[in-house]
Symmetry: C2
Subunit: 359 residues, 2 copies
Amino acid sequence: MAEPTRSTPRRRPTLADVAAHVGVSTTLVSLVMRDVPGASPVNRERIRRAAEELGYHPDSRAQLLRRSRSRLIGVVFRVQDPFDGDLVGGLYGAAGDADYELALSAVAPGRDERRAVASLLQDRCEALILLAPHSPTSFLAELAGRMPIVVVARSVRHRALDVVRTDNAAGLHLAVDHLVALGHSRTVHIDGGRAPGAAERRRGYHEAVRRHGLTDSSHVLPGGPTEDDGAAAARAFLDLHPRPTAVTVFNDRCATGVLDVLSKAGVSVPGQVSVVGFDDSRLARLSHVDLTTVAQNIGQMSHLAVTRAKDRLDGTDVGERELVVSPHLVVRSTTAPPTTTPSRPTATTASSPEAASLG
Amino acid sequence: MAEPTRSTPRRRPTLADVAAHVGVSTTLVSLVMRDVPGASPVNRERIRRAAEELGYHPDSRAQLLRRSRSRLIGVVFRVQDPFDGDLVGGLYGAAGDADYELALSAVAPGRDERRAVASLLQDRCEALILLAPHSPTSFLAELAGRMPIVVVARSVRHRALDVVRTDNAAGLHLAVDHLVALGHSRTVHIDGGRAPGAAERRRGYHEAVRRHGLTDSSHVLPGGPTEDDGAAAARAFLDLHPRPTAVTVFNDRCATGVLDVLSKAGVSVPGQVSVVGFDDSRLARLSHVDLTTVAQNIGQMSHLAVTRAKDRLDGTDVGERELVVSPHLVVRSTTAPPTTTPSRPTATTASSPEAASLG
DNA sequence: ATGAAAGCGCTAACAA
DNA sequence: TTGTTAGCGCTTTCAT
């Protein structure tokens, strides 16, 4: 019988193996492997060759154990969430620039944040970046007593926690300003419920419509972060009378559900209703969705999160604990001026909100 | 000035610190921390308390370095992909059952598979599970020379590689059988292009329509794995004449794009056209999508992947290198019997395909 | 430019 | 039940 390719071969080679193979000390091999000056070009070359030949990879555990610092930043993320996915991508880049490694720990069904964090603690991460964590502030604060903690995309007010987040209220100002500039006056905001950021976006909506003197022709409809939430809210929206001409939605996922229900109900977008999302996720960019949306600056947020972690580790004196990143509006094809066919003669002052639920 | 909560406190406590604090040997502390029998209840309690008090967490790098085995399985996944997300969730569970830890390494923009794998090699993983890898077989084979490699959701034929995948062809048989049972005869398959599994699904479609004697009234339309691909394919579909009454689509994402375009074109689903997806992703389950789809058994795949890695590590004699998991059909609301209103008098033999592009 | 030796925090013999 | 000792693979003084 021919021996098949061995899938469990001999013990992995160590520094000592490489050293022995070349006939030098482990010290020299260590230098060469780390690209540190102090070895003759000849030996450098021979050692490189031997390492390659033996298939040597340094053992990061041993390295980390020996080094005083791990240069490791832990990241807790929701493995299911596309926004977190984007952020993780950005974090890899930012960490590389800052000469740190990332250790990923996922939150998944059956694996909660505490477990994710615990595993990172064992890995000797020097700091933690938590993406939209839902743990109680007390837990986060306790962690912060151990090591620098950077919370991303959730607003937590605690003097030991660093926060990097989008200016959610400003995002809704952008959305409402855009709609008003197009000529809309009857608008609705579909809410994110208890999702992180939802309260601020709701507040931003209220502030913006008030600023435009449109409070009386504004609504907030209960919603949530998912497509399903959006679909349900859209059904409620269809019952509204007079029907608003524009909708701001908590996020893109939710907006997708809204769009789908409107489309199925024969309501054209942006012909009859304009829709604005939030996040500028891949969802929004799809050519057949092409959603006008408030974009979070993921690259900047990732960069700030890593930089803040690094600054804390370096003991750099940083000012604010909370870093608020400005969003910007991406206008695509789900917003347009309202059609000038009011269902009733225009009333200068809107009727009382209660009237809407009648008839 | 009041000293704010320190975010970079004293050196992390070690086993020795705990031991000194209690006044016992490190051995004893080690036993207790690992829940190994061999310590008196009294000491066990005192040590536990001291560890808690000092905020002690074992250093997994030191543990791993010292233990002969790391009991670590590396997972390479695409941080953006919802299907990979689901799998990672399943893998955590399966790994826990098998008493292994998972080390995650993401593929993201700017971080390719080689980098993801390299980092896992340094972490001294004993085996690697690669989710839908796109690296060339040669690279995977080379890896397999070092350690057990389990490839999930991609078909690779190599005697050193283990593969866990869904029976894609069978999935399309299920889909077509379902449609035919409903009474459909003019069908179309929207293809996945070069995506993993696309070729097998296409083949399954061809086999199934042939088996039903429907080859002449079948089409394959070029598509791809994304919503955009589906949207484009759907536009091509709308130009088909006579229009097929049912569509099988490469995957759920693509099917979503198809549904959206159909909806916007005023084509009712399942009234005028039935649609079947593939994956049973969260997308398909959304109440407003409610897509009939071929479900991959994620739980079983995760379990098999971990078990296979474990068996290789244990040297267990396993038979097949390729584990093929049967999918099943989830019937939801996008499939129904065809309406019996042919746009023209039924022709027994379909007109030549070229005719479609005319007029 | 090179090497010897100590030790990172832990576990696994072995002894007591 | 408890302690002593050696050493995992590496980096880091300190010699040479």
